[in-house]
């Protein structure tokens, strides 16, 4: 994108998260940063550090030694990289693992949601925002919709998007809701722990894992595509074999 936009007469400066790829593309100006994917400015709630990264980025615009500038920002975020930190954070204990039937599993997930609801509410009050709501369903409706794929073929309730797209947004909603609730007490320090907790220790995570074999063979192409590539993160695929 840097190349295309600079070609149209506008100076650009871009963050590079994968240095090897930036070296190959050779954009006009790039600042490589050693941060994990999802955190191009280093760490949440660290305004001074974010500003440092931003100033390093915009300072590239003053350089005259182009046409290709690739600078390294070598400083780690405060507290180190989030994926390296220890820590489990969930404020509630959960009921026992799900039972075999779909109805039983749904009941267990609803119980889990009820335990976490006060924390989700607290998260919203604390942050003034939520990233939940992409599907338009409330959390229990979202879980119930997804649960329908285990033993049936739920209909698409939306006319403005395909079943596959709605399925994806509902999955995202469930993940976002859980993670916001889990971090109400204190911000997440370890992004890997957060993912491991959701996928490995929650009934909702187990539901999404159970959806995988159903979805990768689904008659709807969109649902099948989501099942294959946009349902289970690579870091959690080992759970599919458990």
């Amino acid at each position: 994108m840097g190349h295309y936009i600079e070609e149209k007469g506008l100076a650009t400066a871009g963050i590079s998260l994968v240095r090897e790829n930036t070296e190959r593309i050779r954009p006009p100006r790039a600042l490589w940063v050693p941060f994990e994917l999802g955190r191009p400015f280093g760490a949440p709630n660290e305004p001074e550090f974010q500003t440092k990264v931003l100033l390093s980025l915009i300072s590239l615009l003053e350089r005259t030694d182009g046409p290709v500038i690739l600078e390294d920002f070598d400083e780690d975020p405060p507290g180190g990289h989030s994926f390296e930190q220890a820590g489990v954070f969930c404020p509630v204990g959960f009921p026992k693992p799900p039972v075999e039937s779909n109805t039983g599993a749904l009941r267990e997930i609803f119980a889990e949601i009820d335990l976490m609801q006060p924390w989700y509410n607290l998260s919203f009050d604390k942050r003034g925002r939520t990233t939940f709501g992409l599907s338009g369903l409330d959390i229990k409706e979202a879980v119930e919709f997804l649960s329908g794929f285990i033993e049936g073929n739920p209909k698409n309730p939306r006319e403005d998007m395909t079943l596959g797209e709605f399925f994806r947004f509902t999955c995202e909603d469930v993940k976002m809701w859980y993670l916001e609730a889990a971090t109400a007490k204190s911000d997440i320090q370890n992004s890997r722990s957060a993912a491991d907790w959701f996928w490995g220790e929650t009934n909702a995570g187990k539901l999404l894992l159970a959806l995988h074999p159903k979805c990768v063979k689904h008659a709807d192409e969109g649902v099948m595509h989501v099942g294959k590539t946009q349902l289970i993160p690579r870091s959690q695929e080992h759970l599919l074999n458990d």
Binding site: M1, G2, H3, Y4, I5, E6, K8, G9, L10, T12, G14, I15, L17, V18, R19, E20, R24, P28, P34, F35, E36, L37, G38, R39, P40, F41, G42, P44, N45, P47, Q50, T51, V53, L54, I58, E62, T64, P67, V68, S82, F83, R127, G128, R129, G133, L134, M161, R168, K175, M176, D187, I188, S191, A194, A195, Q230, L231, P233, R234, S235
Partner: protein, 154 residues
């Protein structure tokens, strides 16, 4: 995550296999000092206002983020599940540093912030497929007298 050799093998392989275009030319535009720059952000994090249409797979469109937006109004509908979103949940500025840019403007470090910023969804399309969108955005940014564009991936 530092370099590809330092991240899980499957993730590194996926990133290595990304198409990296080779261009015939290397454009490089000079400009005024930072204090006279009008700056806009283009993010590929799939961000948009809650009432805007969600991004879909291979979506090469863009969404508009006004400079005076309440950042609490922004959601993310990027299609990839292989990056951390908890940072964004806690603080949008780790992905889209508009508050930080506003502060630099107030301090006089940059001239001004563009009236509009733009968000794309950076997955599912090949590099050449985004060129028409870039052309359109370049026109919009020039209309707004922007002379410095920050490109922010996720």
């Amino acid at each position: 995550m530092v370099r590809l050799k330092d991240i899980p093998v499957l993730d590194a392989q996926h990133l290595r296999e990304k198409e990296c275009p080779i261009f015939d030319n290397e454009p490089f535009i000079s400009g005024p000092a930072l204090e006279d720059r009008r700056v806009a952000i283009i993010t590929t994090a799939g961000l948009h206002r809650r009432e805007d249409k969600n991004f879909f797979l291979k979506d090469t469109g863009y969404r508009v983020i006004p400079k005076d937006i309440d950042l609490n109004d922004i959601v993310m509908t990027h299609t990839s599940v292989n990056y951390d979103r908890t940072g964004f949940q806690q603080d949008i500025n780790v992905v889209f540093p508009l508050d930080r840019l506003r502060e630099l403007e107030n301090r006089g470090k940059i001239g001004s912030i563009g009236k509009f910023h733009y968000s794309l969804m950076g997955a599912g399309w090949l590099p050449h497929e985004i060129e028409p969108t870039c052309d359109e955005l370049a026109g919009l940014l020039r209309e707004d007298n922007v002379n410095a564009v920050l490109l922010v991936p996720v």
